[in-house]
């Protein structure tokens, strides 16, 4: 059974899945024991990781998950490497589903306005109510078998609504207009040489960001001497645009003009040149006119059009903010025209996948609200969506809901909407449930429970609840005994549909092991319809005045599901680096114009209301636009550590043990409170923009970031770019943490090792260790210095020396690695005040620097993941008086927490400042403590900690290899950060193994460098320079 512990061999643990599932099916166990399974299944081994393939339900993207469990408890959500969409990576929010699973906000059991009820009573009450009239079911977008069951249970008197704030209705509508098919297409980003995104934040919240990033990396990462080009056209740069080779900032709502201008410029040479209707339509979008309307120069537009002419190997996509201006469908039509003119249709734009992404158009929600208000519904059932929070006040959702006689919440957590319900029947979390998803044709993902129900929480799986309900209502669809049976029965049918040979049990087991059944889809051909260039499709030509944008990001989106998860609040937002807060992002020129100061409050007044927000001055936004992040303003139960902020320092502020209670804490404010409930007239997508007035105040906004640069000026580096509106110096100050080169400079270096590495579930040949020094080419140099300095001999490593390579050309700053690290290593979450005092505990962080663009004079953003370098000549080791940190024979700066007395000298002497001290013992509010990884010690006050290259994983990997009497395979041991990186920016392995990828990268690359070389700490992390397309960037 030892094989079962290897995560790459997890599909071999079929029997475990089944057995654990059987245990999981026994219902909730109120008794909390150290090991939750009193009679464990025969395969169960204490101290051994079991992995369960499942599917993420955070968004509708349908990424495959591997739920890692220890002692019967799920401890981490990782990407499923076998899943064709995300291929092993998973976004910050997907990983934080663990914090939803163990959320302190989780509802403890069925209750009627706080008074507990029994499950059968609750279901009976709901069934009775449903019999009395029409039912509306508002739930998450769920593809797969669930839809059918729901329809069957609701019957003819019920209707359902899939609620999501950005349901891609504009894309569907735009395609309906342009191609006659209301489908969200598959964009083959990986096949494009040039990608132009019109506001689509495809690295963050647009469609399946993980699939996008896999494809983007294929297209954009430097490989074989080449690198694709990515151009972002938008009013708000976002993290996605900050990674673009070129960012075109356009006036608010004018992205479609650029698309049409490009199409007009490309039309003469294209296959569509003969289309007179199109020609006359596009004649209204000559580059001159477009330039006038958008504020982008003709020359830039010309170059853009020229770049885009790739004979079908380019791709234009639209989404995000550009599509939430009320003209989203028109923008989609314009982009469709551009793709058609450039010949991309059928090459990079593929139809026929029947993508089931996003929910129903919000116009359906608007109707439902009207109906509710009119008293049309007897029962409204709301499941794991939070419209009361997410919808703007103007939608009147809460008021309408109050008119419904019976509101039932099926949400796992207590939230703003469940508070409005008459009855709360909490369903189990996805990790405890069965299910399946079908995000697009050919991809059928399974969801299986990875653990028994959370002890002390009386919940029921959503599917089982519906079955019980259906039985009471007499629905024929609800005949299955359990939802597991229901899914199984459905898959029995699928087996026939997909013509999979062999017995069902084998098919079922294999599907469970792999996380589903995966295949391709046959693209269907579509053609451009004349409605796409009808006059009424022309986007408006005038830019709006000062506009407020509510923006989604990789950390938070408008649905607000992550707004009460401490990881997502504590980990700095990639672009702004702000934590635990909302903010108002403003261009420096606009800030100067409005008199706004970075870090001060501004009064933001829209038709929906007035709010105070801290100003964040940034070049990544168009002039005349202000941006507010969505998804914040929710309550998170968080420990109330004592605060000394703004209090007298001469008086004691004593924290009593009882003071550290878990209280709801509102973080930031909801952007929805600033928006009107205005929908795109064509598609019904919510308009995320609104006219705004912004007034400066002198009040300090107490915005917190872990970076030192916002507050602290370095006189030597001060220049205009950094001083506007007091924004502070965010530059590298010539310290070379991020280094760059250009494609030109890399010409002739195509021999560089192709970085398609990551090595998931690949077993490579390994050379046995040679006995040379790991210093390799440095050996002579070191020998000389050793002799000269008369110091100790350098450490020679026996058979393993773990090293890392980080490719900055690939890193996009998404911070998924940071979340993975928090989850893997039990990193404490400290809260805003402690962050502001420099007491963050992150073992890896994404440092964001901004350097001026030589051409525009504006700042460009650079990201670098920073973790402990495990230096070979470390500063931390010799200064520790008690050997609590020492260099182990595998090259790790090991930390012995038990030995540490807390002098903090090691942290002082670390040039990279990667060490973190436990200034107090931090709380993990229950039941979040159950997420803690038993393989990693939880640290107490007074102890130093830091990244150790996930040494617990190294240990586990080596133990396994030892048991099997072999060497560790290269790629067998992955660090948590590496594992989740969607762009494969991080490589890790044994440098003594000459065939290891990390060795090959380090030996063949000519853009590798180590940070702060002059300090001579010899870190084991080599960074590969970022490659810019030309020298426009710094």
């Amino acid at each position: 059974m030892t094989k079962g512990i290897n995560r790459r061999d997890f599909f071999k643990v079929a029997a475990v899945s089944g057995a654990a599932a059987a245990v999981a099916g026994c219902g909730s166990d109120p008794v909390e024991t150290i090991i939750p399974m009193l009679v464990p299944p025969s395969e169960y081994q204490p101290g051994v990781v079991f992995n369960f393939a499942s599917t993420c339900t955070e968004c509708s993207g349908g990424c495959g998950l591997v739920i890692k469990t220890r002692e019967g408890r799920a401890i981490k959500a990782e990407g499923n490497p076998l899943h064709p969409l995300n291929r092993g990576s998973i976004c910050p929010q997907g990983q934080s589903s663990m914090q939803a699973m163990y959320s302190p906000s989780r509802s403890k059991g069925p209750n009627q306005q706080g008074a507990p009820v029994k499950w059968d009573e609750g279901i009976a009450a709901l069934a009775t109510a449903m019999k009395g009239g029409k039912t509306l079911y508002i739930g998450k977008p769920r593809s797969g078998s669930f839809k059918k069951l729901l329809a069957g249970v609701l019957g003819t008197d019920g209707s359902s609504l899939q609620f999501e704030m950005s349901p891609y209705a504009s894309i569907a509508k735009g395609n309906e207009i342009a191609f006659g098919t209301a489908e969200v297409p598959q964009y083959a980003i990986g096949e494009a040489k040039v990608l132009v995104s019109f506001g689509a934040d495809f690295m963050e919240s647009w469609m399946n960001s993980q699939a996008n990033l896999r494809d983007y990396t294929k297209m954009h990462a430097f490989s074989h001497g080449q690198k694709g080009k990515f151009i972002h056209v938008s009013t708000h740069q976002s993290m996605t645009g900050s990674n673009a080779d070129q960012w075109l900032s356009v006036k608010p709502g004018q992205e479609a003009q650029v698309a049409l201008g490009m199409a007009a410029a490309l039309l003469p040479g294209s296959a569509m040149a003969g289309n007179e209707g199109l020609k006359s339509y596009l004649s209204g979008f000559s580059l001159e006119k477009v330039s006038e309307r958008t504020g982008v120069s003709v020359k830039v537009l010309e170059e853009l059009a020229k770049d885009f002419a790739q004979g079908g190997a380019s791709l234009a996509i639209a989404g995000g903010n550009a599509q939430s201006t009320g003209e989203g469908a028109k923008l989609q039509v314009a982009v469709n025209l551009l793709n058609v003119v450039a010949g991309n249709l059928g090459k990079t734009v593929l139809f026929g996948a029947e993508t089931q992404m996003g929910g129903d158009s919000l116009s359906k929600m608007a109707d439902a609200i009207k109906q509710m208000a009119a008293g049309a519904y007897q029962v409204v059932v709301i499941e794991n969506v939070n419209p009361a929070y997410a919808l703007p006040k103007g939608a009147g959702f809460a008021e309408a809901l109050a008119k419904v006689p019976m509101v039932v919440s099926l949400s796992t957590e207590e939230d703003e909407t469940s508070a409005l319900a008459h009855m709360h029947l909490p369903t189990s979390h996805t990790v405890e449930s069965w299910g399946d998803l079908n995000p697009r044709k050919g991809i059928h993902s399974l969801i299986q429970p990875a653990m028994a129900k959370l002890p002390g929480y009386e919940t029921l799986e959503l599917g089982d609840l519906l079955l019980a309900l259906g039985k009471q209502l007499g629905a024929a669809e609800a005949s299955a005994a359990t939802y597991q049976d229901y899914i199984k029965a459905a898959w029995m049918g699928y087996q026939k549909d997909w013509a999979v040979a062999g017995p069902f049990e084998a098919f079922w087991k294999k599907s469970l092991q792999q996380g589903g059944h995966f295949g391709e889809f046959a693209p269907k051909s579509v053609s451009l319809q004349s409605s796409a260039y009808a006059a009424e499709m022309a986007p408006k030509a005038e830019a709006a005045g000062l506009t407020l944008l509510a923006v989604n990001s990789s950390m938070h989106d408008a649905n607000g599901a992550g707004g009460n998860r401490s990881w997502l609040l504590e980990i700095p937002h990639p672009v702004t680096q702000l934590v635990w807060d909302s903010w108002l992002e403003v261009h420096p020129d606009t800030a100067v114009e409005l008199g706004l100061k970075h870090g001060n409050f501004a009064e933001v007044k829209t038709a929906a209301g007035t709010q105070k927000l801290g100003v964040f001055v940034n070049y990544g936004i168009a002039r005349g636009v202000v941006a507010v992040p969505t998804g914040l303003g929710r309550n998170i139960p968080f420990p109330t550590y004592i605060s000394t902020r703004g209090k007298s320092l001469l008086m004691p502020h004593v924290e009593m043990a009882a003071d550290v209670t878990i209280k709801p804490l509102q973080v930031g404010l909801s952007a929805a409170q600033l928006l009107d409930f205005k929908l795109d007239p064509l598609s019904g997508d919510l308009v995320f923009t609104t006219a705004v007035e912004v007034k400066a105040t002198d009040e300090d906004a107490y915005m917190v970031t872990p970076e030192g640069t916002a507050k602290h000026h370095d006189i030597a580096a001060l220049s205009l770019e950094y001083t506007k509106a007091n924004m502070g110096d965010r530059s590298l100050k010539g310290r070379g943490f991020v280094k760059m080169t250009s494609v030109e400079a890399m010409q002739g270096h195509s021999e560089e090792h192709d970085l398609e590495h990551h090595l998931r579930h690949r077993h490579y040949e390994t050379t046995l260790p040679d006995n040379t020094s790991f210093y390799q080419e440095r050996a002579a140099d070191v020998a000389y210095h050793v002799e000269w300095s008369k110091r100790d001999k350098p450490v020679y490593y026996e058979s393993h020396k773990w090293e890392m390579a980080v490719d900055l050309d690939r890193c996009i700053g998404c911070s998924a690695c940071v979340v993975a690290c928090y989850a893997e290593n039990n990193v404490s979450v400290v809260g805003k005040e402690r962050m502001s005092k420099g007491r963050e505990m992150a073992w890896i962080h994404i440092a964001r620097y901004q350097e001026p663009n030589h051409e525009t004079g504006e700042l460009e953003t650079y990201f670098t993941p920073q973790m402990c370098g495990q230096c070979a000549n470390a500063g931390c080791e010799p200064v520790c008086p008690v050997y609590a940190t020492y260099h182990n024979d595998e090259g790790i700066n090991a930390m012995i927490y038990n030995r540490c007395v807390g002098t903090r000298y090691c942290a002082n002497n670390c040039a990279y400042k990667q060490r973190r001290f436990n200034w107090r013992t931090y709380e993990f509010p229950a039941p979040l403590h159950m997420q803690l990884n038993p393989a990693v010690t939880v640290r107490e006050k007074g102890v130093m900690e830091k990244c150790n290259f996930c040494f617990s994983r190294v240990r586990a990997g080596k133990d396994l290899a030892k048991d099997q009497g072999r060497e560790v395979f290269d790629g067998e041991i992955l660090t948590a950060c590496q594992e989740t990186c969607p762009t494969d920016a991080i490589s890790f392995g044994n440098i003594k193994d000459s065939k290891a990828k990390v060795t090959q990268i380090k030996t063949t690359t000519n853009r590798g460098y180590t940070q702060l070389d002059e300090v001579n700490y010899l870190p084991a992390v080599t960074y590969l320079k970022k490659i810019n397309h030309d020298n426009k960037k710094a």
């Binding site: 320092l649 310290r735 005092k837 500063g875 008086p881 008690v882 002098t903 903090r904 300090v1015």
Partner: protein, 441 residues
């Protein structure tokens, strides 16, 4: 001089040892309150962790290490006066050395607390001491912190011994002047010293030997303390100038502290005025002038080297100190240490008691600031701009600092009451023997 006799020395000095009056008790109450604040804050810190002090992520050392270096530095003047000036036979030493030496002992006792206070898990402090144990754990002799353990412990034991050796004949004087239990007690403390020629001969030899042992410590201890910083790689710390710079600074602050303590002592006990002469105080002032110049030179040469080295990290740090957000502490340091001693070059001022007292206080503040600047600003602004930080004080460290002054003062107040605060025997030595005085004067 003329009115000072053997008897008057005895009377004047032992006058200070009379049972304490109301003022003493009132002062002691304040002092114990201060100490109590410190103990309370330290207890709080042990229970809740280090977050009651302003130390944070880039700035791992703050007020505690500042206090440590400050108090070790204070100690130096005492040893310098008692040992080095003894060896060079400086005449102004006699009147002030006992109190200075007491100051040294108490300052080092205070300083030794701070490495304990500052560590995260003080309950494990003994792990810093190399001792055989069943876990086969050993300490890292490469770490300057360990050198500190030895340096400070050596210094503390030597200065206590030297202090007590110096007290032997004076304890004998107190014994002779007292009765009953007190006589017995001081008799034990005096080790039966009777003042025979034989005893004096051995005593003087022993004293000389101790002075010779203590002398190198004046230079070594603060050099080793400076290596806590100089051995690291951090810009602003990693510099070869530190040992002499620290030693000069230590003597600078120590002499100032001697003045801060002796000027009030002189005012409180009227008899002392004849013994601790203005001339002796002036000599201290001259020491301050001299070391002040060295310190000022060290400050400027640090800036010059930052410029001359071309090292960008060093340069940026030395921009940060005067122009960054912690510039207040820098300029306070420059004012107190470089500017405020300048008036001492005028004789009128250095012989003026209030002026001298004021300047000594300023120098003390300045030297605390110097250590704060070195410890905090260097860490606040090192290699990685992303990690730069800033410092804000927190109540626990403030209370503990107050407590440390309480701790020091408590010992000093007790010392004044139970030991002769001036060196009786040596002062007598300096006098012209009674029967001959008329002849010679």
């Amino acid at each position: 001089m003329s009115n000072v006799t053997y008897a008057s020395i005895n009377d004047d000095i032992l006058h200070s040892m009379r049972p304490p009056g109301k003022t003493w008790f009132a002062s002691m109450a304040i002092i114990l309150t201060m100490l109590g604040m410190g103990i309370f804050a330290f207890g709080y810190q042990i229970r809740h962790g280090m977050e009651g002090s302003g130390i944070n992520n880039p700035i791992g050392w703050g007020v505690y290490i500042t206090n440590f270096v400050f108090w070790v530095g204070i100690g130096h003047a005492g040893t310098l006066i008692s040992a080095v000036l003894f060896l060079v036979r400086a005449p102004f030493r006699t009147s002030i050395y006992r109190a200075s030496e007491a100051m040294t002992v108490f300052a080092v006792m205070t300083a030794a607390l701070f490495p304990l206070i500052h560590i995260g898990r003080v309950w494990n402090f003994y792990w810093l001491i190399p001792y055989p144990n069943q876990r086969l754990l050993w300490v890292n002799f490469k770490s300057p912190l360990l050198w500190d353990v030895f340096a400070v412990n050596t210094y503390m034991s030597v200065s206590i011994l030297f202090f007590l050796v110096g007290l032997v004949p004076d304890f004998a004087v107190v014994r002779d002047e007292s009765k009953g239990l007190k006589r017995l007690f001081y008799g034990i403390a005096a080790l039966g010293f009777r003042g025979t020629n034989h005893e004096w001969k051995h005593y003087m030899r022993a004293y000389l030997l101790f002075a010779a042992i203590a002398t190198p410590l004046v230079f070594s201890v603060h050099s080793i303390v400076s290596w806590d910083f100089a051995m690291s790689s951090i810009p602003g710390w990693h510099t070869t100038i530190f040992p002499p710079y620290f030693v000069a600074g230590a003597i600078f602050s120590g002499c100032a502290m001697v003045l801060t303590l002796l000027l009030p002592l002189r005012a409180i006990f009227p008899g002392f005025k004849d013994i601790i002469k203005m001339k002796d105080m002036e000599a201290m002032a001259k020491m301050i002038m001299f070391t002040g110049v060295i310190v000022t030179y060290a400050y400027s040469i640090e800036f010059f080297i930052a410029y001359y080295s071309g090292a960008k990290y060093e340069k940026a740090l030395f921009w940060f100190r005067p122009f960054g957000e912690l510039k207040f502490f820098f300029f306070l340091m420059v004012f107190c240490n470089c500017v405020s001693p300048l008036p001492l070059w005028i004789k009128k001022i250095r012989t003026n008691v209030p002026a001298l007292f004021l300047i000594s206080i300023l120098v003390n503040i300045g030297m605390w600031m110097e250590r704060f600047n070195i410890v905090v600003t260097s860490l606040a602004h090192d290699f990685d701009p992303y990690a730069w930080g800033s410092y804000t004080f927190e109540w626990v460290e403030i209370w503990i600092t107050i407590g440390s002054f309480g701790w020091f003062s408590m010992w000093f107040f007790i010392f004044v009451k139970i030991m002769p605060s001036l060196a009786v025997a040596e002062l007598k030595e300096a006098l012209v023997p009674p029967m001959r005085s008329a002849h010679h004067e």
